[in-house]
Symmetry: C2
Subunit: 183 residues, 2 copies
Amino acid sequence: MKITKEKAAENRQTLVETAARLFREKGMDGVGVAEISKAAGLTHGALYAHFPSKDALAAEAMQFSTRAAYGKVTERPVTLPELIAFYLAPQQRDNLADGCPLAAAASEVARQDAAVGAGYTAGLRQMADYIAQQLPPEQRGRALGIMAALIGAVGVSRNVYKSDPELANEVLESVHSMLLSLN
Amino acid sequence: MKITKEKAAENRQTLVETAARLFREKGMDGVGVAEISKAAGLTHGALYAHFPSKDALAAEAMQFSTRAAYGKVTERPVTLPELIAFYLAPQQRDNLADGCPLAAAASEVARQDAAVGAGYTAGLRQMADYIAQQLPPEQRGRALGIMAALIGAVGVSRNVYKSDPELANEVLESVHSMLLSLN
């Protein structure tokens, strides 16, 4: 069955969005192409018609999710304290599939294809630049440190949540007050 | 072939140490029991004689590696600035298999069995307590934030290293100067 160009483009986008969610929820090595195509309502073959490999899909999913996350954060002007509070909110910690892709893959991208890393790097730079714009010129070098601390906070808080939800909240609060006390 | 109790205990320990290295190097979902038993020079069956499941082995590997890392960090007295410099050194970033297990699995433990999370939580508490002892009483709540920032720095730096090694170093330096500027 031949499908239209429009339908093919729609299928492609569904695959990217589905992959972006599943990679965050289950981990970059925790989900395969069979599960992604099934969740997208397509066949394995349809996936390979659009992407030569899981790596190619993962690279595009990383680009898509970092851009979408950046768009969500910056759709209205936010101050740096607002951004920090948003990022460190327990609801953000509890939302793996829709949360920040930079935190969801904090320890995973180093082991992936270089193209996945390129998407991660672009996403990190974009967020760090946004933060830098809100810092006085002499403190702009701190933007990367703030992003790394936010990413670490969410990752660590998620990791300890099942065994110690109180400690998980303390991690978020500790990073929060640490970042607000910077001067 | 019957093996002695001593040999069985030795095989068990080899499996734990091999798993601890491979989980850090390849990710918690990036390596399976077949590869771990092979790398330990044992059979699949020998692994299952000691551990009922991959989760059980992963939980013990997490306990082992967090304790070993804590032992390595604290074998001689170190000041907090020394610990921060050690943790954020590029050699530590470049050493996945032998580096800090809290950073190697920064985004992965949340998706694992609760027993793996318990080992991670104990390891985090131990490190945070060690840091807290070096802080003035009114700043001890910051210890968790410092650990989260260190873990985030190493994870993010590794993630961007392949596509931008210079940015990878800037991440480490930015967190370093941010943590030293806290007062």
